[in-house]
């Protein structure tokens, strides 16, 4: 699942890269959403009395419920979402996937044990661990999105990589996922918690890639190597090298090759036949669709189609579905609010260097102050 401990590392070392914002401030933005991630969230979170919502035949509909209502919430806030679905997993991910399968089996066993013991809390817990996004779930969601007039893209491989490419090309503003590896793929902006339930009242986290690099004092290549050391989905990592040591190593030696040359391998055993180069290539040149060829079009929803698809067997309330469709139409017909900073350009700060020095001086002079004391004031 993404990069181990990266979000904590960024919060510690480059806190200025993470901003919290409200959903409504993202109006007018086109946002690529990692569909597998959010379907998974919905399957886990959208439940009634602990059980997933189901159709008459017992098929899960939690993901459809989530996709329908949360997408409407995004559109009502003026956001233009585009969902990106995973394609085939890269071959390097085989190890990680095998591990996950193992964990599922484990959970399955524990579930059985819990069921026998009659421990409802544990049953619920392990049930959630068994949740998996299947092809059928994805197909259902795609059909729903089509009826809602929301575009989606089938990535040839990893969805995060495709999202990142679309952000880089300027097709969309940001990638929305919980997986931090969207940053490793170079997504300029990463949004977390976008598809969380409104009831949780969690502000959205906006992580800026260039500020991350600046804060960590790394370039793109060094950042990728750092992520590999922290632990990614594609290869194993060096035992005993945690986030702190990893960032120190990469700052000192600039690349994994040099680190391996200088590392005390007795203390820190490097995995045998470590294929970090392949993993690195996967981050630098992932298999993606050319973003320029991707055509994003938001259309009016097909109200009757939605009713036909969601009501009946799937037991959605017809009135609420029709209302939802109307909300989508209404949101489409109101103009998009412009942003003032798209008209007036941000001027480069006139005295950044001086300010920084003054900052440093200040913090050393006045120990009681927290970091960055005096920023925002520029004594001349």
């Amino acid at each position: 699942m993404g990069i181990l401990g990266l979000s904590k590392l960024i919060a510690d070392v480059a806190p200025e890269a993470i901003k919290e914002c409200e959903l409504k401030h993202l109006f007018g933005r086109k946002i690529a959403i990692d569909a597998s991630m959010c379907l998974y969230q919905f399957l886990i979170a959208v439940r009634s009395e602990g059980a997933q919502l189901t159709s008459v035949d017992g098929e899960t509909t939690s993901h459809l419920m989530g996709t329908f209502y949360r997408t409407i919430r995004l559109v009502e806030n003026g956001i233009k979402p585009v969902y990106v679905f995973d394609g085939k997993p890269p071959t390097l991910k085989g190890g990680e996937l095998a591990k996950r399968a193992e964990r599922r089996e484990e959970a399955q066993k524990q579930l059985q044990a819990a069921e026998e013991a009659g421990n409802a809390e544990d049953v619920d817990k392990f049930n959630r661990r068994l949740v998996k996004v299947t092809k059928q779930h994805a197909e259902d969601a795609k059909q729903l999105l089509k009826l809602m007039g929301i575009p989606y893209i089938d990535a040839p491989c990893e969805a995060e990589a495709q999202c990142a490419a679309m952000v880089k090309s300027g097709k969309v503003y940001a990638t929305a996922t919980e997986d931090m590896d969207a940053l490793t793929f170079g997504s300029n902006v990463l949004l977390r918690r976008l598809t969380f339930s409104e009831a949780r009242k969690m502000p959205i986290q906006e992580i800026q890639y260039d500020k991350v690099l600046h804060g960590l004092q790394l370039n793109k290549e060094e950042f990728i190597d750092l992520c590999i050391m922290l632990g990614c989905d594609y290869t194993s990592s060096i035992k005993g090298v945690g986030p702190k040591r990893a960032i120190e190593l990469i700052r000192n030696h600039k690349s994994l090759e040099k680190i391996l040359d200088n590392l005390d391998t007795k203390k820190y055993p490097v995995p045998e036949d470590w294929n970090y180069k392949d993993a690195r290539m996967l981050f630098i040149e992932p298999e993606i669709k050319d973003p320029e060829e991707v055509d994003l079009k938001w259309n009016d929803p097909d109200e009757d189609g939605l009713v036909q698809f969601l009501c009946g067997d799937k037991q959605f309330n017809e009135e609420r579905v029709r209302n939802g469709a109307k909300k989508l139409v209404k949101a489409r017909n109101t103009g998009t609010q412009g942003r003032i900073d798209s008209f007036f350009k941000i001027l480069p700060s006139t005295t950044p260097q001086k300010r920084k020095q003054a900052d440093d001086k200040k913090t050393s002079n006045k120990k009681a102050k927290t970091t960055g004391g005096g920023r925002g004031r520029k004594p001349k």
Binding site: G338, R339, R377
Partner: protein
């Protein structure tokens, strides 16, 4: 050292009321030419630009240029502690951590001092290009406030269309629609009641009511408001602040077509 004194706190009170809806915090740039504030609201839709010239103050001293980050909410609370007739003095040392507000009653019998902690802020300065606007409308500020309030009942946005005949404000919503037309005043008896339109070419722009309703909080500052508009650029809504300066609000228009990003 920085020290600025105004004979009546009323002006500063009104200025604070005029920005507090849009800004929760802002950087006050002080130099020997005066005090300047430029800040965007949280959503980056509007921009407030405030300018108070040093010669408008009763006393103004600024030895070194200062950028002071202030919490507007707190500042508003402090200003509310002053009576309108009180003299107000702002004071800060070089490299300050605090700013001091001193309120003195006209009879000099009461002296109140409030100290406020300054905050650290990221500064983002926007360059605002000199623009020749297609339409410049001057009208009574109370009239503008009234129009914004009335039209907000009908929709989320107000369309302002300006032509030779006059200026038309309109809004449409689920319940119906509303139109208000103002013609240019033919004969000017009182300057502050006049509607004056200076038009190069007609424009029609749509703006969110929410922001306009925040702008009109500046109405007590000035009897007239100046609206400057051109196609596809932000609206400028300007109020003079007595003899001392001005406050300008910039508001990004709503965009209809698809090619925005």
């Amino acid at each position: 050292m920085f020290e600025a004194r105004l004979a009546q706190s009323a002006i500063l009170k009104k200025v604070l009321e005029a920005v507090k809806d849009l800004l929760s915090e802002a950087t006050f740039e002080c130099s020997d030419s005066g005090i300047m504030v430029q800040a965007m609201d949280n959503a980056h839709v509007s921009l407030v630009s405030l300018n108070l010239r040093s010669d408008g103050f009763d006393k103004f001293r600024c030895d070194r240029n200062l950028s002071m980050g202030m919490n507007i909410t707190t500042m508003t609370k402090i200003l509310r502690c002053a009576s309108s007739e009180d003299t107000v003095t702002l004071r800060a040392w070089d490299n300050p951590d605090n700013i001091i507000f001193i309120f003195e009653s006209p009879s000099k019998e009461k002296l109140a001092e409030y100290e406020m902690k300054l905050i650290n802020m990221d500064q983002e300065h926007l360059g605002i290009p000199e623009t020749m606007y297609s339409c410049v409308v001057k009208m009574p500020s109370a009239e503008f406030a009234r129009i914004c309030k009335d039209l907000s009942q009908f929709g989320e946005a107000i369309t302002i269309a300006c032509s030779k005949e006059g200026v038309k404000f309109s809004a449409a919503g689920d319940y119906g629609n509303a139109n208000i037309k103002l013609a240019q005043t033919a004969e000017v008896d009182k300057e502050e009641e006049a509607v004056c339109i200076d038009m190069q070419e007609p424009v029609k722009l749509t703006f969110a009511c929410r922001y306009l309703n925040s702008f009109v909080k500046a109405t007590p500052l000035c009897a007239q408001v100046k609206l400057s508009m051109s196609a596809d650029v932000p609206l400028v809504c300007e109020y003079s602040i007595g003899e001392i300066g001005h406050i300008r609000y910039y508001l990004a228009p709503k965009i209809d077509d698809e090619d925005e990003n």
